[in-house]
């Protein structure tokens, strides 16, 4: 057993407790240093895990050496390693921004909550059994409630109550789904469950389908799939920008869980419950896509625009996922990387703009010129290009891969039509916002002397980091797609996963 595998869970817990117990507010400077250092460590750790996983063998870690399927198991394959690395990179950029914009001063426990959130995310990506997936979901949700409410204010509390209640209802549904699947198959380990589902008697198929659909519905709630998306715009628009940027990965946890459980447990071998969610996921995903980008067009302020852009990109991602064919899944994984970084970049850019516009804030109205308008227009332009999916950034490549990947599917014309037409909608929405904010504002004479965040350079660097990530993703599209193709092959080879977890049989 390689103990590197447990490090993404134990280290964030230790760092969070250390900051919580020892540093608190009196040692904010020290807490910031430790927190930033820890985030850099997560990046190194994620890179090490990815390097390990890229050899192609699936590593497992049995906690307390209790053998699967009874013990708790962590499983590292190409996909989970990549998600851990993505979480680490995103969290480093977000933490740099949050620290330099003094968000962590506006409450008591920002840094511990931040690392507990990372702990929950890493756990959800690495876990090998369904009940621990539930536990890690709860862990990241509890931390996210704290982060979402961080800094307080009535608007945030209003959005917060809805967010918390919806996720609690989602958690109870998750338990029902896990209970049904346990009742039918008698196991919680995902690999073991895959075998039992494949060999289940016909009498159990109805219950199993019900369990599968409930489970996917819960993940769809996290992934903001229509009609379970309604919590997202309000939550993301009312919370602080760095937290919204970090939450860009939370919707991806839903997408990741859908991809993982459907392909592994309810994949081709699952008899009647094979690909149970695919039939209704596709129309829902296309609706999500349309609704998200219509929202972008209709938004009256920048935060809403960013939140609806996230909904729209989740729609793109899930419409590629719901085909469940290798080429489409590879494209969906590439789009996952892209849309996480693009969503984060947009939220941070919006915050930079809103802070410099004084009383105008993030409302989409012409205002007088604000400081650094030229630089911020470049930031906005880049993140808009990325989210709309125009060349040359990775959004374009991602959409192209999706269009190409779904070609084999029977519903390809629908997906093509929806993706292409919503791209136009998104383009219109972002063009309207950009021209209002930058051209019309530049034409107004007097300057605003708004209060700029305390460390303007550092905040700019924090917001530029996801953009740099997007450019890197575009430049290194070749190696990344090679890795992702291998990851997809590994995903669809459930026999290898089962052998790695349960041993040869």
């Amino acid at each position: 057993m390689n103990h590197l595998l447990i490090a993404p869970l134990t280290l964030p817990a230790l760092v969070a407790s250390l900051i919580l117990l020892v540093m608190r507010r009196r040692h904010l400077r020290l807490a910031r240093l430790v927190s930033l250092g820890a985030c850099m460590t997560w990046v190194v750790l994620g890179a090490a895990l990815t390097a390990r996983a890229s050899s192609g063998d699936i590593a497992t870690y049995a906690l307390g050496n209790w053998a699967a399927p009874f013990g708790i198991l962590l499983v590292l394959d190409r996909l989970s390693a990549m998600m851990v690395l993505l979480t680490a990179i995103l969290s480093l950029a977000v933490l740099a921004y949050a620290t330099s914009s003094d968000l962590d001063r506006r409450g008591w426990h920002f840094h511990p909550l931040f690392h507990f959130q990372i702990l929950g995310l890493n756990g959800a990506f690495l876990t090998g059994d369904l009940f621990n997936l539930f536990v890690f979901f709860e862990m990241l949700l509890i931390a996210s409630y704290g982060l979402m409410l961080h800094g307080q204010g009535a608007a945030r509390l209003k959005g917060g109550v809805q967010y918390v209640v919806i996720n609690l209802a989602g958690s109870t549904l998750f338990l029902v789904a896990v209970g049904i699947l346990y009742g039918v198959t008698g196991t919680l380990n995902m690999a073991d469950m895959a075998i039992r589902v494949a060999g289940a008697p016909p009498a159990d198929q109805g219950l199993m389908r019900a369990g599968a659909l409930l489970l996917i519905a819960v993940f769809a709630l996290k992934a903001a799939l229509v009609p379970l998306h309604f919590w997202l715009p309000r939550t993301y628009a009312s919370t602080s920008a760095p937290v919204a940027a970090l939450f860009a990965i939370m919707t991806k946890v839903g997408a990741y869980s859908i991809i993982r459980t459907t392909i592994l447990i309810f994949g081709a071998d699952a008899g009647e419950s094979a690909w149970a969610p695919a039939a209704w996921m596709l129309p829902a995903a296309l609706l999500t896509l349309a609704l998200g980008f219509i929202g972008v067009l209709a938004a009256r302020n920048l935060r809403d625009l960013a939140a609806f852009a996230v909904v729209g990109s989740m729609g793109t991602l899930l419409s590629a996922t719901s085909v469940f064919q290798p080429a489409a899944i590879t494209a969906a994984l590439y789009y996952t990387l892209h849309s996480t970084l693009a969503g984060a970049a947009l939220f941070l850019t919006v915050d930079l703009i809103a802070r410099r516009r004084g009383d105008y804030g993030d409302a989409l109205t012409p205002s007088p010129r604000f400081p650094q308008i030229e630089l911020l227009s470049v930031f906005f332009f880049l993140s808009a290009i990325a989210l709309v999916g125009l060349p040359p950034l990775s959004g374009f490549l991602g959409k192209l891969m999706i269009l190409n990947g779904v070609r084999e599917s029977a519903s390809a014309p629908w997906i093509w039509a929806c993706i292409l037409s919503t791209t136009v909608l998104a383009l219109l929405g972002f063009a309207r916002a950009g021209s209002l904010l930058f051209w019309e504002s530049a034409a107004v004479g007097t300057d605003i002397h708004a209060k700029v965040p305390p460390h303007p350079i550092l905040t700019l660097v924090g917001a530029a980091a996801p953009l740099a990530g997007l450019i890197a993703l575009t430049v290194f599209a070749g190696p990344v797609t090679t890795y992702l193709t291998a990851a997809t092959e590994q995903l669809f080879d459930s026999a290898a996963y089962v052998t790695a977890v349960l041993g040869p049989r």
């Binding site: 009535a154 509390l157 109550v161 918390v164 109870t172 896990v178």
Partner: protein, 117 residues
């Protein structure tokens, strides 16, 4: 009446009460609804191991049959999480009431409950 019928009815009653309360617009009803729902889920999880009477809860070489211990472990975890969450929602609901002056879930007081300030 069989044991299964009784337990199933209890789960059904709890769930429907929970969902009814969840769909109401006040935070206090909502908290009660979530509590009811989590009771229902706990009993449901417990029942998923099979309703067995008078059997040892862990494996015993002398016994021919034993009750499934896993659902009990799951229920324990679920109870702990549900407790923590209920506490959190209560605090949050109270704070929202103090901040917005209404206990409506969306934070917008309707005409009949608006304070006459």
């Amino acid at each position: 009446m069989s044991l299964e019928f009784l337990v199933a009815t209890a789960i059904g009653v709890f769930t429907s009460a929970g969902i009814y309360l969840l769909l109401r617009g006040r935070t206090f009803d909502l908290v009660l609804g979530l509590a009811f729902l989590s009771y229902a889920i706990n009993v449901f999880l417990f029942a998923m191991g099979g309703l067995i009477v008078d059997r040892p809860p862990i494996f015993d070489a002398a016994a021919t049959e034993y009750a499934d211990p896993v659902p009990q472990a799951l229920v324990l975890t679920a109870i702990v999480i549900a407790f923590a969450m209920t506490a959190l929602v209560l605090v949050l609901a109270l704070r929202t009431f103090l901040e917005t002056g209404t206990d409506q879930v969306d934070g917008e007081a309707d005409a009949s409950t608006r304070h006459s300030s």
